[in-house]
Symmetry: D2
Subunit: 354 residues, 4 copies
C-alpha cells in the first residue's frame, strides 16, 4: 500500500478525493489536513464515510516534514497561491531527505507554463519556477507517458479538461479555423464549498446564470496553452462559463468555423480514430449528444459531433463530471499512473444514472 496525504480535506475536491480513497486497494490515506477542521474525524465532517476505515482518520494541521517523510504521494486540494508554497516546501524537504515523492496539485499553480501569463491572470508572482518547469500537465489521455515519470503533476482544471478533449482532434487535424467559442456550463460543486451567499441553495436552485463573460475566466489561458501546444499554432478562444443548478457536471458547447470541405461523417471518423484507444473518452455515434448525467460520478468524457451546414460550423459538445473527471477522480488516475498502478484502479465506476 502506498501511503498518501490529502492537504485540504474540507472542500468538494477534498471530499471527493476522500470518497475515492476510502475504497482504493493500493493507496491508503494516512493524513488528512485542514486548518479549520483540525481535530475532527473524517466521519464527523463527512458522515457518508462512516464505517470506512478512512472515517476514523483524525484531521490534523499540515505538518510538512512528517507528511513528506511518511507518505509516498501527496494530494493538494488547497487554493492557488497556497499550493505553490506548499509544493515548494514538500520538495525541499524531500530533497533533504533524499526521498522520491509524488505530488498531485489540484490547484492552478503549476498548470500555466509561462510565469508571466500566470501572473497576468492570477495576480500572483510565481515563486517556484524551477518546479514549474518539471511539472507535467495531468491530462492522462494525452500525456500518459509523461505522467508515469512525473514527480509533480498539475491536475487540469475542470473546464479545460472538457474543452481540450473536445477540441484536440479538430485542431490537430486542422479541421477548423481558429475562431473558437466555448460556451461552458458547470454544476455548482465547481463554485467550491465556501460559505457565501451566491452559492446558497436558494440563490442557485431553479436558476441559471452566466458569469465571467467576455474572456475573464482564469481557465482561458490554460485552455489556450494546451490547444496551442497540441496544434502547434497560437490559439485564442472566447471562453464563457455559466452556472448550472446541478451538483456535478460540465457541458461545453464549442463552436468553430470549418477550415475545409469535409462532411460530418469524416469528422466523426477522425474523432473516433484519435480516441480509439482512450478508455475514458467516448465519442458518441452521430446523432447522439452528451448529457451530464451520463458521466456523473465517472471518469468519462463524452463527446458529440455536429455540423451546422447552414453556417458552416463544427459544433462539438463535450461532457464530464467536473468533480470526478474535472478534478479528484482525474487526480487519482494521475496518482495511479505515477505510482505504477493501472490507470483505472478504483476509478472504473459506471456512471451514476439516474
Amino acid at each position: 500500500m502506498y501511503q498518501a496525504a490529502l492537504i485540504g480535506v474540507t472542500g468538494y475536491t477534498g471530499m471527493e478525493l476522500a470518497r475515492i480513497l476510502a475504497t482504493h486497494p493500493a493507496i491508503s490515506l494516512k493524513y488528512a489536513t485542514s486548518r479549520q477542521e483540525s481535530g475532527k474525524y473524517i466521519e464527523e465532517l463527512y458522515p457518508f464515510l462512516r464505517s470506512y476505515p478512512i472515517g476514523q482518520i483524525q484531521i490534523t494541521d499540515f505538518d510538512a516534514f512528517t507528511i513528506t517523510k511518511e507518505c509516498d504521494i501527496i494530494f493538494l486540494a488547497v487554493p492557488h497561491g497556497t499550493a505553490m508554497n506548499t509544493v515548494g516546501e514538500i520538495f525541499h524537504i524531500a530533497h533533504t531527505l533524499n526521498k522520491n515523492i509524488k505530488v498531485i496539485d489540484l490547484s492552478a499553480d503549476f498548470r500555466i507554463k509561462n510565469p508571466q501569463t500566470f501572473e497576468t491572470w492570477y495576480q500572483i508572482k510565481h515563486n517556484q519556477t524551477d518546479l514549474l518547469k518539471n511539472a507535467v500537465y495531468g491530462l492522462f489521455d494525452i500525456y500518459e507517458e509523461q505522467i508515469k515519470k512525473a514527480s509533480l503533476i498539475a491536475n487540469p482544471g475542470c473546464y479545460p479538461t472538457a474543452s481540450i478533449l473536445g477540441l484536440y482532434p479538430a485542431l490537430s487535424n486542422h479541421l477548423i479555423q481558429k475562431d473558437i467559442i466555448i460556451d461552458a456550463k458547470s454544476g455548482t460543486t465547481g463554485a467550491g464549498r465556501k460559505a457565501q451567499v451566491s452559492s446558497l441553495f436558494c440563490e442557485v436552485y431553479d436558476n441559471f446564470r452566466p458569469y465571467s463573460i467576455g474572456g475573464k475566466h482564469r481557465h482561458t489561458p490554460e485552455i489556450e496553452q494546451e490547444l496551442s501546444n497540441l496544434s502547434q499554432e497560437e490559439i485564442f478562444v472566447s471562453f464563457n462559463p455559466h452556472l448550472l443548478p446541478i451538483e456535478r457536471g460540465i457541458l461545453n458547447t464549442i463552436y468553430a468555423p470549418l477550415a475545409k470541405n469535409i462532411t460530418v461523417e469524416e469528422i466523426h471518423t477522425i474523432y473516433n480514430e484519435t480516441y480509439k484507444n482512450k478508455k475514458f473518452i467516448r465519442v458518441l455515434p452521430l446523432g447522439q449528444l452528451p448529457e451530464t448525467r451520463n458521466v456523473r460520478g465517472s471518469l468519462f468524457c463524452d463527446i458529440g459531433i455536429a455540423v451546422d451546414t447552414r453556417t458552416n460550423k463544427l459544433i462539438i459538445t463535450s461532457a464530464i463530471d467536473n468533480l470526478a473527471r474535472g478534478a479528484s477522480m482525474q487526480a487519482i488516475a494521475n496518482a495511479n499512473l505515477c505510482l505504477g498502478l493501472n490507470l483505472d484502479t478504483n476509478i472504473n465506476y459506471a456512471p451514476v444514472c439516474p
Copy 2:
C-alpha cells in the same frame, strides 16, 4: 368585461393562461376546451386555482360556432397544424356572423410569413395563406402599433423572443457582422406537458443536455425572419438549444463578431437608447448579467452586454421566463393591446425571486 375562450387548457401554456386570467380585471374566461379533459372543472385539473371563479369553469369540447359567437377573444394553445385549421374555422364563422373577433395563436402556424419556409421546417402545407398575410407577429416591444389593430396575432416563440430582443439593437445599428451564434438554454416547461419518458423528473433533474444541435430547431427560421426584417439584410443564425433542469426560464448567450471599432460602453448606450421606453425590457448596467430567476413569473426580458476584446466579439445575454414572456403572459399582453386595454393590465408582476 371581455369574454374569452381558451382552446387547449391542458398544456403548460394553457395552464399559465388560466393562471393569469384567474385574476384579470377586464377579461373573463368563459370557455376552456380540451378533448381529453372535457367534463372536468378547471380546479380539478389545476388545484392551485381552487377558490377562484375560474376554477368553477367546466372544460368542454371545442365548439367553434358557440365560442366564436359568444367570445371577444380566443387564445389558442394547441399544437401547430391544428391551430391553422381552428383559426381558419373561427374566422370563417366570424365572417358569416359579421363579427369582429380577436385571436391570439400561441402555436407557430402564423409566425412564418413565407409559406414555403413554413412547409420546409414544419413539414406541413399551410392552408390559410390569406389569414397568414394579415397575421401580426406579437412581439409587442417592437410591433405594438400593429398589434393594437390586429385581429390575428401570432404569439412569438419563446427562444425567438429572447433572441430577437437581444439582437435587435446590435443589428439595427449595424454593430455586428452576420456570423451569429445563439447558444440557448431553456427550462423544461418548454418541452410541454405531454407524458413522455424524456420529460420525466428523473430524466431531467440533475442533468443538462443539448438537443437539435446544428441548425435543426424550428425556431431558427422565425428568428431569421424577424432579424432579417429588422435589419433589412438576410440573416442566418446558428441556433443551438439546451434543456435546463428548471421549470421556467430561457437564457440565451449570443455571439457575433463586432463590425466596427466600438467600445462596450458605446454599445451599452445604444442598447439603452433603443429600449429606453420599453417597460418590459431591462438593459442591465455594464458588469451585470441576466439570470433566469430575476425574470421568473414576469414579462421582463433582461439583457446583458459584454465584449470579448481578445476575440473581438459582442456577447449578448438575454433572459426571459419562457412560459410567461415566452408564451402566455406575452399572449395576455397582446390581448390587452388588441382589446384596447393597457399593455400591462394584470401582468405587471414583480418577478418571483427566490
Copy 3:
C-alpha cells in the same frame, strides 16, 4: 399612501417584503435598512426589482428617530433578540412624539405570551414585557378583529401557521385526543439567507434531512400556546421538522388519535364549516391532498383530511408557502388590516404553478 420602513432588507423575508411592496398600491416603502448593505440601492441587491421605483431606494443604517417620525408602519425582519430592542426603541420614540405607529415584527420576540417560556426556549430574557402584553398574534384568519386594532403585531412563524390552521377545527371541535404529532417539512428559504456551509446548494440539493428531532425546535411552544388557547386545554405536540430541497413551501403531516366515533366525511364537513368564510384557507375535497406548488407565491393554506381507520387516526395535511404565507405576505396582510385596507390588497396572487 402609507409610508413604510423595512428594517432588515437582506434576508429572504426582507427580500419577499420588498417584492410585494414594489407593487403595493397603498403602502409606499420609504426606508429600507441593513447594517451590512447600507449605501447600496435595492436594485443592486435585488436585480429582479430593477425598473420598479422601489429599486431606486438607497439602503441605510437604521435611524430609529427618523423612521418612527416619518413612517406609518414598520416591518421588522431582523433576528429575534434584536427585534425586541428595536421595537422597544420605536414605541418609546412614538410615545414621545405622541404618534400612532404600527409595527409588524416578523421575529419570534412577541409571539410567546409567557416571558418565562420565551426565555426557556430562546435563551434570552424578555425586556419588553409591557409591549408583549399588547402584542397581537398575527394569524389573521383567526384574530382579524384584534389585528385591525393592534399597534404591535407578532407575525406568526411559518411552521406554526401551517400547524395551527391544520389543527384548529379538530381541536376546537374536540375531534382528537391530545397525542399530537406534527411531521413538518420546509423549503430552504426557511433556513435564511446567511452564508453557511449547511445551506449551500450542494449540501441541500438532491438531499432530504430531518433536524431538531425530538421536541427541540423553537416553534414548538408557539404552536402549543396557540393550540392551547384555541382549544382551552393544555396541548403538547411532538413537532419534528425536515429540510426540503425546494425554495418555498411547508407541508405538515399531522397525526392525532380520533377522540370519538366520527367519519371522515363528518370531519370534512366540520373543517369546511369552520373555514367557510376564510378566503385564504382552502379545505380540499376528500381524496385530494395539498402540494406545496399549489400554494407557491400565494397566501393560501391548503388543508387535506384523511382518516386511517386501521389505526384510528386523523391525518391532517396542510401546506403553505413558508416565505409568503409563513412570513412576508402574511405580514402584508396584517399591515393591510391594521392600516384599514382590505385584507387582500396586493396579495391576492394566484399561486405560481408550475
Copy 4:
C-alpha cells in the same frame, strides 16, 4: 462467471441492475429483455453504459426456455402480477430440465406470505402459492442464512426495507408500544419510469406532496408482516408516504410511544448491539440524523435515534437509497449470497456525496 438474465430492463430498477452488473466480477449479464425495446442495444437505451461490454447486449423478448436453460440466475424487474406468472414458468421449466436456478423477484408477488392478504391489497389472486411458501424475504441483514439457501427470493420493497430496519431493534426488544406511525418520504425513481403526467419534471420539481395517506399504500401489509414476525406480536402501522423532488432516497420518520422507562442512551446502545455485525447498517451517534445523500448510490441504511421526552415518544429516522438499497443493489446482494459469493461483491461503493 455466473450467467444472468434481467427480465424487464427498461424501468429504473432494471436500469440500476444493468448499471451494477456492468462491472460485476462474478455475474455476467447474458440476456436483457423488454417487450417494448426489443432489438435495441443496451447502450442505445442507456448511453451511460456505452463502452462497457454490457452496452453491447441486444435486448430481446422474453424466451423463458432459453433463459432458464442458459442462466444461473434471473432478475425480475417486471410489474407485480406479471412476475408471478413468469416465476411460475421459469421454475416449471427448471424442474423439467432438472436444473437448479436462482430467481430474484423485485416485484411484490412473493413478499406477502398470506395469499389472502396479498389479494386484498393487490386485487390479484395469487396463482403460485407453492412457490410462495418457499420464497425467502430478501432482507439480508436479518435473513442472510435463509437467503444463502434460497432458490426464490422476494426482494423487499423500498419503504419496507427502511421501515423494518428502523423498527426491528425497538420491537424485538419491546421498547415501544404498538401505536406506530411511519411518515415516509421517497425520491421519484420510486414512481417508476412510466410516461405519465404526474411524474413529469415540471410536476415534481420544486414541489412536495403526500399520497396514499391513511393506510392506503400497498407496502403497509409487507411492513406489518415482517414486524409481526420479528416481534412475535401482531403489529399494525399507520404508513403514510410522500414524494420528494429528488431522484434517489427514502427517509422515514417513525414515531412510537415508549413502552418503558428507558433513556435515549440505553436505546441507542440496544440499536448498536443489534446491528454491530451488520456491515450495511450504520447506527448514527446520538445527536446525528440520517440524510438521503449520505447513502446515495450505496447499500447503507443509516439510522438515527431520538426521544421526545415531552411526549414520551421514540423517534427513529432511517434513510436508504430507494433504488440501490431499496431495490437493485439489494437484489445484487441477495444474488451474491445465494450464488455463494461474498455479500458485498461489487456493491461496496462509498455513497456518492455530493
